[in-house]
């Protein structure tokens, strides 16, 4: 008996030491921070993209790009020689830059942008006296940092960067096929193509165009990230040169073109009305008074201390594909009156759902939470789109078109949704029934209609247009994203249904543009 016990004891000890050792030393836990992007080998060079419809620019040649020196010139030969010298002694850091940017500039900058949105999507902290300070573009490193990249700000930022990139690349394509200078690896057999090099002419360099336009846009949208953005832009240009895609004059012309296009797009962005979207205490009070005058219970901030509503005048911001009158024309009909039986039934459904939330429902609420500190609902749809754009091996200009269409629709959805939210000023479920507890953070703006539903329906419509074989899948995602807000306890069913229908109406304007933009 004693021996048996000892043997057992020894076995238990041995087993636990072994198991602990296995767990302590096994599996590499490290997580890579980025989605893997294989080297971009575009399915088509999209040679006609210089003729595709412009959005902000009057024509693809609005910014002049001077003719390059001849490939037979001594100056150009010196550029080629410089690439050979550089390729002969690549450092591991340079190889890492080449590998990183080989995944595609549009896709990489979209990842970077999602990271910046997540970094800056935090509301200001209250001060000791219970007041809040608004972020200040002239003090971007302060507390609060600038910007507060909340969903409307983010939707706008994603759209302006995507459109600026798209405009700049169409202009680049125009000049590429006007001047037809082949890429260095094609001109000189002594230069290795370290990434897939196509027949796309290299002057001006699309990588430098992207670096130039994106860094300039980020400087205004995320000024505190300028240093990071500038470094990335320089890396992108260096990678293009080292990989045999572009010479120094290809890069210089691209950088100048990208920056000039950004100036044109920024002129539109900085006068789009966002600067007035915060409003003031008098305007906020007028919104509540207007709801009361209609016999409604007005929305109240449930934060402590009470926080001003998020960008209440964002509904006046300029859209991409709609006029201000069209924004009003597609506005959803009024929500159920707060005292109505229909509203009571919807409210009861939220309470019932949150009190008996299943694990599956909680998982859905969290999957689509996209709240503070995340890349926001528009960022989530960029994340979804990026996978499809990668898999479809879109050229840079076609990838830019996809992100531009997607984000134009979501920006318009954001403006239209905010216009409706602040017109109706409808309370959240937890305001009408304080017993309702939420499994995700409660957004600090009126409920009706659901922003996530509006964004998601619009996004799924555009992605369904771009990738028709997946359209049912995108719609199912939009439906799930909408219902996640009921599971989370922050929206009534009516908000979700009307939000999705609203998103569909808004996206129709973007799709009308897409169907006639001459992109095959």
């Amino acid at each position: 008996m004693r021996i048996t016990t000892r043997r057992f004891a020894r076995r238990v000890t041995a087993a636990s030491v072994l198991a602990a050792g296995a767990l302590l030393t096994s599996c590499d836990k490290s997580i890579t921070d980025l989605e893997p992007l294989p080297p971009l080998a575009a399915a088509s060079v999209d040679a006609t993209a210089g003729n595709w419809q412009m959005i902000v620019m009057t024509s693809p040649s609005q910014v002049a790009v001077a003719a390059p020196t001849a490939v037979t010139s001594d100056a150009y030969k010196a550029e080629l020689a410089a690439i050979k010298v550089a390729q002969a002694s690549l450092t591991s850091a340079q190889r890492a830059k080449i590998d990183y940017w080989a995944g595609g500039g549009v896709l990489r900058w979209n990842q970077v942008l999602r990271g910046l949105v997540a970094k800056y999507n935090l509301p200001p902290a209250p001060r000791a006296d219970g007041s809040y300070v608004f972020p200040d573009a002239n003090n971007p490193f302060g507390d609060p940092a600038f910007p507060f990249a909340n969903p409307p700000y983010a939707a706008r930022a994603y759209s302006y960067i995507a459109v600026a990139q798209y405009e700049a690349l169409k202009a680049a394509w125009h000049y590429k096929y006007q001047y037809n200078r082949a890429s260095p690896a094609k001109v000189d057999a002594g230069i290795r193509a370290l990434v897939p090099v196509s027949d796309l002419p290299s002057y001006p360099s699309e990588d430098a165009v992207l670096a130039g336009v994106t860094v300039a846009m980020l400087q205004t949208l995320f000024p505190a990230a300028l240093e990071e953005a500038t470094t990335r832009g320089a890396d992108q240009r260096e990678a293009a040169l080292l990989s045999g895609k572009a010479t120094s004059t290809d890069l210089a012309a691209g950088l100048a073109l990208g920056r000039a296009v950004a100036t044109l797009v920024l002129a539109r962005m900085t006068t789009d009305g966002t600067g007035n979207a915060i409003g003031n205490a008098t305007l906020w009070a007028a919104m509540a008074d207007s709801a009361r005058a209609r016999g409604e219970t007005p929305w109240l901030s449930l934060e402590a201390p009470v926080r001003p509503p998020m960008l209440p005048l964002f509904g006046n911001v300029r859209t991409w594909s709609m006029t201000a009158a069209e924004v009003v024309a597609v506005r959803p009909a009024a929500p159920y009156p707060t005292a109505s039986a229909e509203m009571k039934a919807d409210l009861a459904e939220v309470r019932r759902t949150t009190e008996k939330l299943t694990n599956e429902q909680r998982a859905i609420a969290q999957k689509w939470n996209d709240g503070a500190g995340t890349y926001t609902p528009p960022g989530h749809w960029n994340d979804i789109a990026a996978d499809h754009i990668r898999d479809a091996q879109f050229s840079e200009v076609r990838a830019a078109r996809a992100f531009a269409l997607l984000n134009m629709a979501m920006h318009d959805a954001s403006v239209a949704c905010w216009e409706a939210k602040f017109r109706y000023f409808n309370p959240r479920p937890s305001q009408l029934d304080p017993a309702i507890r939420t499994d995700i953070g409660l957004p600090n703006f009126p409920a009706y209609p659901s922003g996530h539903s509006t964004f998601s329906a619009a996004a799924s419509d555009v992605l369904g247009y771009l990738f028709p074989s997946e359209s049912a899948n995108f719609r199912a995602m939009a439906d799930e994203a909408g219902m996640s807000r009921l599971y989370g306890g922050i929206h009534y069913r009516k908000d979700i249904e009307e939000g999705k229908a609203h998103g569909d109406r808004v996206a129709a304007f973007t799709l009308r543009f897409a169907q006639s933009d001459r992109a095959p």
Binding site: T5, R362, Q366, R437
Partner: protein
């Protein structure tokens, strides 16, 4: 049935004491101890990174925990210990939903490798503990501070030196290293520690702790006072006005006092009570904890 079994255990007990994975107490051979421990933890102030603050959107967060614990003496020097808590959280203000559920099952083996007289004053024990824990339900790790746990599988190794003087005073010093498995979220991306991760998998930094206990043990009474310092070996800070995140660098220093009393007339019944207070921390609440427990022990 269960009640009868427990009474039977109690009736046949020798000298019984409750024990845990980080103390120097051992059950005698073939003695089984089992019981419930209730813990109530509350905090209002917390450290957002290193900034101490409160937050009107949560008020005071209360975590209640009822843990089933059991220990068994395979031999007098080798014990197996297991526990499974049921945990419930709630916030006194704001709208965030409290969470509850069965948390992590932990199973450990404690081995007294060396027990030797040290001077004439007492005995030195060298003890090793290996333990594991695994989540037992689908609770969420993506809703801090309301989450009931991290959903991370953990393996802990602890080395403990215990000097027990003949006059009843004892001193324990121990250090532990906990390896934590990665956690999977429902969402496809998250931002922490200065960057966006385009993944649903979260790397959980490992944790080490050091504990120093000074206690008194006489007849059925054990009174330990413990200072604990936990350091998470990585992870990001909570950003300004952000929610906490599962892999945050959660550090703390804590002072803990307990009384454990074995009823003289019912030697199989052990009562437990205690309290603790976080003295300093990072990305944790400054919690105050009270606990009571009842354990029954007996020879099989």
């Amino acid at each position: 049935m269960l009640y009868r079994a427990l009474v039977l255990l109690a009736g046949t007990a020798g000298t019984a004491q409750a024990q845990s994975l980080d103390d120097a107490i051992f059950m005698d051979k073939r003695v089984l101890c089992a019981g419930l421990v209730y813990t109530r933890e509350q905090w209002t102030d917390y450290w957002e990174g290193t900034l101490k603050r409160d937050n009107g959107n949560i008020g005071t967060v209360t975590t209640q925990q009822a843990a089933f614990m059991t220990a068994y003496g395979v031999t007098g020097r080798l014990n197996v210990i297991a526990s499974l808590p049921y945990v419930s959280t709630r916030a006194s203000q704001g709208v965030l939903q409290g969470q509850s559920g069965s948390q992590d099952l932990s199973v450990g083996v404690k081995y007294n490798a060396l027990s030797t007289p040290l001077t004439s004053a007492g005995t030195l024990n060298v003890i090793g503990v290996a333990s594991f824990s695994v989540p037992t339900s689908d609770y969420t790790a993506d809703f801090y501070p309301m989450s009931i746990g991290s959903r991370s599988k953990r393996a802990t190794g602890r080395a403990l030196l215990s000097f027990q003087a003949h006059n009843g005073i004892y001193v324990n010093a121990s250090g532990a290293y906990t390896r934590r498995g990665n956690v999977t979220l429902e969402r496809p991306a998250y931002y922490t520690d200065g960057q966006l991760f385009l993944s649903n998998e979260v790397q959980m930094p490992d944790v080490r702790d050091m504990m120093l206990t000074v206690g008194y043990q006489r007849r059925g009474l054990v009174v330990p006072v413990t200072f604990t310092q936990q350091r998470t070996l990585g992870g990001g800070d909570i950003r300004r006005q952000d929610m906490p995140f599962v892999s945050n660098r959660m550090n703390f220093s804590r002072l803990d006092a307990r009384v454990q009393y074995t009823l003289p007339r019912l030697p199989g019944v052990v009562l437990h009570a205690g309290g603790s207070r976080i003295l300093d921390g990072r990305n944790v609440g400054q919690s105050t904890t009270a606990m009571v427990g009842l354990l029954l022990a007996g020879k099989l």
